[in-house]
């Protein structure tokens, strides 16, 4: 079975007026199913461009990108849309939830675009909310939820179509450290228990330390590709933290 992501000599050029910006200058790597990969780099390193291409939102200028054995560069706009719908879940830094819309309806959104019946939509969206522990918040609107809860709704939305991969772009960028750990705990659980591949972009080494593998980019090139030796385990840290707060450490 082929790797989930196979990137060969990927290049992406933008034209900004008269200047051609080389966002990616020949990147090659593979991601196997079930991996948890962190992509790191300063801004302008090309990591966002790479994420857009991996997420089938953009096409490379040259080089090949095969996702799940399919050559993405040959797909039409509509085929890309259906690929995003069925195989990829997105999590954004700014959550991107629909305002004045219930958590459940937000989670249902991807299902609106693949002809799932109303009843199945509800039950699948509810199951996804259950998976992130927000089943009792299904009727809340985003402005009634905390940042961490909003991001959990967004993760539920990414999960609802049972994707092969979740692409998370700075998912903890707007959250405090405790909430970040909670979010990372969810990602780790989905990765371990459901076997969902996770690719996460971050510029914080602390967050990248939760992943199993780290790719570091600079100036459009892959600088470093190495396994994380002892990944942090979010749920243990959370337990530890709770213990600290209640002062029952060491009993």
């Amino acid at each position: 079975m082929a790797a989930l992501i196979e990137v060969e000599n990927l290049m992406k050029h933008y034209r900004l007026g008269d200047v051609t910006v080389q966002a990616l200058r020949g990147v090659s790597f593979r991601v196997e199913r079930g991996e948890f990969v962190a992509i790191m780099g300063a801004s302008g390193s090309g990591k966002s461009t790479l994420m857009n291409i991996l997420g089938c939102l953009d096409k490379p200028t040259s080089g090949s990108y095969r996702f799940d054995g399919i050559s993405v560069s040959e797909l039409s706009r509509d085929q890309l849309a259906s690929m995003r719908n069925k195989k990829i879940g997105f999590v954004f830094q700014t959550f991107n939830l629909l305002a004045r819309t219930s958590a459940l309806a937000n989670v249902e959104l991807p299902l609106l675009y693949n002809g799932v019946s109303a009843r199945e939509r509800h039950s699948r969206a509810f199951a996804a909310l259950l998976a992130v522990g927000l089943e009792n918040r299904q009727d809340h609107h985003p402005n009634q939820l905390s940042g961490g809860q909003q991001q959990r709704v967004a993760i539920a939305r990414a999960l609802v179509n049972q994707p092969q991969i979740i692409l998370a772009d700075e998912p903890t960028g707007n959250l405090d450290s405790k909430t970040s750990s909670e979010i990372m705990a969810i990602f780790q659980r989905l990765n371990r228990e459901a076997g969902i591949t996770i690719v996460l972009v971050t510029h914080e080494p602390d967050i990248a330390a939760y992943a199993g593998r780290m790719l570091v980019f600079r100036d459009g090139r892959l600088l470093q590709d190495e396994a994380v030796e002892r990944p942090r385990i979010a749920f243990q840290e959370l337990e530890q933290r709770t213990a600290d707060d209640t002062g029952i450490t060491g009993i």
Partner: protein, 410 residues
């Protein structure tokens, strides 16, 4: 993704921005209401004129005495009675395109009943006149040729005379004095309303022409058979022109006019005159409708404006929808349905408003309005069309947004 879901998404979005949606609809509401009300006013005017044409009688030609030259002095129309009862009989007999012809003589006189009196139009006519002018006997009986031959003193009274003179009592069988001559009322005429020139057609008393000449109006000693006017009815609306030509030819021959002499009578086709009026009312109604349609177009521009604002405002939402798998078609449909929903709801409210305004206009301004269901259907269809055509550009703009740019939009 089916249409129903799109409709639900659109309705949600409209409900979220209630005030804005209502204001946007207002443009369409006013447009549709204006079209319906204006067309109703226009058709009301047309219908009124048609009613007046009907009150003249159908396919009626009126022959009036014309100018004559007497010793080098040209006299005005009607100053000399150049038409006679024999002319009327000849027209009926000899013009194939004419079905009926009747003589008429007109004057005014004081009518007395007991202590009451009333000045009205006295018209002496032959029995066919009732038929040609479409006078309907409401009660009693019409007079006949026997009454004409015998110059009997019988009269038919119009509705206005009846109200002014008889109060609530039944006029039939009562004796009235017209210019001091006693007459028996043998029947009453059904109301005809105002004529096209504003004359009350019910303020009238009809009697046999012979009686009128001898007892009431007086006769010219020179020509005892002279009449004030002849009315003729063509066999068919299509034969009006033909009938007119035949009447002219016959009268020229009977009056022994040389080819270079002018007609000493004139033939008028009143339907033609009012036809022109009707035509202008029709043009007026089209014009009113057209002006009102402009406001509908302005309403459409309002929709386009708001949809463009909405697309810009919701750029991130569109980006998100595209990212989670919406196809360009889905986004296009969503925004198009929103625009069409705005215009259709606006259209429905506009129809309700337009109908009420039409009713209020006819109630308070006393204008006759006629609600045209064709215009209602057209205004509604047009508002849907406005929604589609003015909603398409913003919807297309939304559908072809770049998802990356859209997601990054602040």
């Amino acid at each position: 993704m089916n249409l129903l879901i799109n409709v639900r998404i659109a309705l949600r979005a409209l409900r979220v921005n209630r005030l804005r949606s209502a204001l946007t609809m207002l443009g369409i509401i006013i447009g549709v209401a204006a079209v319906i009300a204006m067309v109703a006013v226009g058709s009301g005017a047309t219908a009124q004129i048609q009613e007046q044409i009907r009150s003249i009688g159908s396919n009626v030609l009126i022959v009036l005495p014309g100018s004559t030259t007497s010793g080098g002095i040209r006299l005005g129309h009607g100053s000399v009675l150049t038409l006679s009862e024999d002319d009327a009989e000849a027209i009926a007999r000899e013009c194939p395109a004419v079905a009926l012809a009747a003589s008429s003589m007109r004057g005014t006189g004081q009518v007395v009943l007991g202590n009451d009196n009333w000045s009205t139009v006295i018209q002496g006519v032959t029995p066919e006149y009732l038929q040609i002018r479409d006078f309907i006997i409401q009660s009693g009986r019409p007079f006949t040729w026997q009454d004409v031959d015998g110059a009997t003193k019988v009269a038919l009274v119009g509705h206005t005379v009846m109200q002014n003179l008889f109060g609530g009592t039944d006029p039939v069988g009562q004796i009235i004095r017209i210019k001091k001559v006693p007459f028996t009322v043998i029947g009453t005429l059904a109301p005809k309303g105002q004529s096209a020139w504003g004359q009350d057609q019910d303020d009238i008393i009809l009697m046999p022409i012979s009686t009128a000449k001898r007892k009431v109006l007086g006769v010219s000693q020179a020509n005892a058979r002279a009449v004030g006017a002849i009315v003729a009815q063509a066999r068919h609306a299509m034969m009006m022109q033909e009938a007119q030509e035949q009447v002219v030819a016959l009268l020229r021959q009977r009056h022994r006019l040389q080819p270079d002499e002018e007609d000493d009578f004139s033939v008028r086709n009143l339907v033609e005159v009012f036809g022109a009026q009707e035509q202008s009312a029709r043009v007026m109604s089209i014009l009113l409708g057209a002006i009102a349609s402009v406001s509908l177009v302005v309403g459409g521009i309002g929709i386009m404006n708001i949809m463009l604002v909405s697309v810009t405002e919701r750029t991130r939402e569109i980006g998100l929808r595209l990212a989670v798998g919406a196809k360009a078609r889905d986004i296009l449909t969503q925004f198009l349905v929103e625009a069409v929903t705005l215009s259709l709801i606006g259209g429905l409210v506009g129809i309700a408003l337009g109908l009420s305004v039409s009713i209020l206009i006819s109630y308070f301004a006393m204008w006759s309005t006629l609600i045209s269901w064709g215009a209602v259907a057209m205004a509604f269809a047009f508002s849907a069309l406005v929604g589609i055509s003015f909603g398409y550009y913003p919807a297309r703009k939304a559908a072809f947004l770049d998802p990356i740019e859209a997601l990054r939009y602040e």
